[in-house]
Subunit: 290 residues, 4 copies
């Protein structure tokens, strides 16, 4: 849909009560903005109300911060956690990767073709091997090796964090980055770091999930896109999918099938995130996927 030149996305959550939507959409009508997408959800466990509105705001004089300011009294009235973002502004996404190139290649190809809309100010890797690929897309490549000794690791992640901070990302994507981020770094970019894990979590967390899957004899393997938290592979899940396997498939076959599932799950999860469709609630996500 053609949304015009100015689009704002309002995302908020608050305790449910009568009138939230009426007041919010009444405000939209007063401001002359039209609703392009609307999502809402009440969590029955705790009565928390979540909403997301994408509005076409060409008729509004001012930018998204002005809009947020004008909305502030309503947000205050309902004690909302609320943010308004400029939906036309491209987020800055830093990608981290190790040696496996499939997720990176898929993201970059989709990014170049306009299917994943963001800026990519840089790719960080603990190996040199993917420099050519990244630079072919005109993106700066940063090599930060991660030694295996504790002191080396510590220094490496301090350097990594510095580099990330300089790139001022909105979002960090671990596109098969095979190092565990230190908790303080996860915390600094809370709900901004997206990982792809090559299993259908919570099964087969940790190392070598395809081997674990084959050992258990499962008939489907999967991939999970989730926000990174201090606990390994235990953060809020954004998206998952699976693919059927066969007893005759080798580990190499599983890895080959897995590449496609990982690519698709990560790309879908990242798109949802970039379009402000993922709201974290406790250790779960509200996913306004359409």
């Amino acid at each position: 849909m053609d949304l015009g030149h100015k689009q704002f996305c309002l995302i908020s959550d608050c305790e449910d009560r009568v009138g939230i939507v009426a007041r919010t959409t009444g405000f939209f009508a007063e401001q002359g903005v039209s609703i392009a997408q609307a999502n809402q959800y009440v969590e029955s466990d705790d009565g928390r109300f979540f909403m997301r509105y994408l509005v076409s705001a060409d008729a509004f004089v001012g930018d998204h911060t002005d809009f947020a300011q004008k909305f502030e009294p309503i947000a205050a009235e309902f004690q909302m956690n609320c943010r308004v973002v400029d939906a036309t502004r491209l987020q800055r996404v830093v990608v981290m990767v190790s040696k496996h190139d499939h997720c990176l290649a898929h993201l970059l190809h989709r990014w170049k073709g306009g299917d994943i809309r963001c800026d990519i100010p840089g790719v960080i890797s603990n190996h040199e091997s993917l420099r050519d690929l990244v630079e072919w897309y005109g993106i700066p490549f940063h090599h930060v090796p991660v030694p295996s000794d504790e002191a080396g690791r510590k220094a490496a992640f301090e350097k990594t964090a510095e580099l990330i901070d300089e790139l001022t990302p909105d979002t960090i994507v671990l596109a098969r980055y095979m190092q565990i981020l230190p908790p303080w770094l996860c915390e600094r970019y809370r709900h901004q770091v997206i990982n792809i894990h090559h299993s259908f979590l919570p099964s087969f967390a940790g190392a070598k999930p395809y081997s674990q899957a084959q050992d258990r004899g499962v008939k489907l393997i999967g991939a999970t896109c989730h926000y990174v938290t201090a606990e390994l592979d235990a953060g809020p899940i954004i998206e998952q999918d699976v693919v059927r396997i066969h007893h005759s498939d080798s580990i190499a076959d599983l890895k080959r099938y897995g590449k496609d599932v990982e690519n698709l799950v990560l790309a879908r999860g990242l798109r949802y995130h970039l379009e402000n469709r993922v709201l974290v609630h406790g250790n779960k996500t509200i996913l306004f996927d359409r």
Copy 2:
């Protein structure tokens, strides 16, 4: 979710302009009803705006017709096609079937367990063979044979229509009813007759779709749930799904796989319809599936 004792569903479409949602949800707030489910959609081709609201209306004094009457000025202002239904009232669903029993058995089992919420005042068949099954569920079974000669067919469908009219259905389900309804009967119950066709339409419309599928050598077969119109297998599609097949599968195998797909597609389509989640727009459906 516990919706309280009184629930209304408002479904409407009108030309899109600023303020529809604000006025509608403002009305809800004034009446003290809370929004349990909200769906909206603008068709970009023609600027038509569709919405569906399920509201918890215990605080409202009056029934759904009173509610509709109070909403009337807003509906008029926006020139809405609008209806308000009592969402707690069970629809009356007449099921028609021939000899294949799988869709019928699936529907009745799911109906008995409360997964498909409706009343079933009767089952009509052109054969006697499924009487036992239907009566085991305590549902009246009506046998109306359909002869192959034109005069006999005509009489049979007049009798069928009479019987249907007496059962005062909201919805008619053709659960593998292997006769073509006359156009005047389709028209009388326009967008109220749901058929399950055992192919992934538009491929393999008409007779013997599984044979057609095998002749063409497709690698997946499917089923389609759609509203019945005068043109055979060409009405608005509600739901579809597919299943993978193999070159070694016989027609009997395809029919066996197909049973599961038909069952699931019909049950999902019917649920969507019964929950007022399907809005017909031209020859397509707007499906507010969640």
Copy 3:
């Protein structure tokens, strides 16, 4: 395919070496039987060779035991674990169930329609509630309550085992039987007891898997059909599948979706088992699914 009146199924495993297939199919040719289905697999880890042949044996004078006897020298030569079964003989399947009726209803409907080919000499339940359903299909229903105290449980399972032994089953299906079988009973019918677990194992083993799934916030739920072993929900997996869920789905919704997945996974798993397509190897299955 029309297999004629006499069909044998030969299933065997042995150490891989050159000549096994040649000797086996050479034997078939000598006996004048034709191969209808052939499956073979070498496990690369341990070099174990598995094969399954379904043969049309009208030209063979004698029954499947005569056939096995004639094959004995070849089986001995390659030190095969080998069995020949009469593929036209219907297996005897005892079904055990508690209160959830969906898997039972699906199996019985498919059995009556000829899609699941077996004899069902009896259904055993720890509740009375499904007697009507079972007896409508003309199958004896046995009620064996299982008390919660240890002594009561012990006695109940002794009675259950006696009853099972009298029914002389080839296979026992736990179609949502909500009791844990004692290890000695699992052992007595080793690789003959099939369970349906309502999660995608190894995730969410044990009690209340749908609640566990919702708590973890997964985006797909599943079902697993497996052989029962002494360790709960840890036996060799025969078949699995999943279905997509949404953050707005309640536990009741998950259970409703789950019914379809459970039904299909159990029915497929049981069919594979009845057609001798499942070969257990350690804690995994070789599944010759076509």
Copy 4:
């Protein structure tokens, strides 16, 4: 599985009778080759028997033509259509493409990573735009514009055919090549030209399938990989898959989802073909997919 250094693949079809497998595998045993993969199928309609064997042939003295020659008496005895290929030799695959780059990028990425095993002696396009991508992979790029006038088209395809002949391909892949090949060229490379069509055939053959799909209001879209024949989009189907869509998806959304399905279906279809797993029988394929 490690197949050793010498591997042959024998593919044949003949009229079914007792002894084909015995004689064939007996021959393998005599030659000391071991069976790595075995597939067989009898078409019940016409009694045609198809088989495919992959054998580890390190113990055989000679190459695949010697092996074929030794097998010749058996092939003659059963009047087989038979070919033996050197399964370690990489096929030569010429890729043709227009402007859409997703299938090409996916194939090249997978080819570079070793997931699609073949040589790619050249890419031919009727546009210049994908030269950079192709050359980054070190593959020669040939630009052959196809004018819209009849004479220009004729000349262009003569030049194209010449170029193809020089590249001596085993297989030609149309990876979204938006021109219709002339019948004489299809015939010259019969059952060697693989196309990806962006619909679930036979629905929506011809131009603009995503628009056709949206106009009809289907709930799933798909892709089809098939051999090219003189009749447009009507050749033997190798592989198909689908993805769910929503009423709110624009044509651009359908194209975006479609890219993934097209990529996966084409890559799977091509792999099957390269591993000699696809046997054409009339207008259908026997697909020995595992």
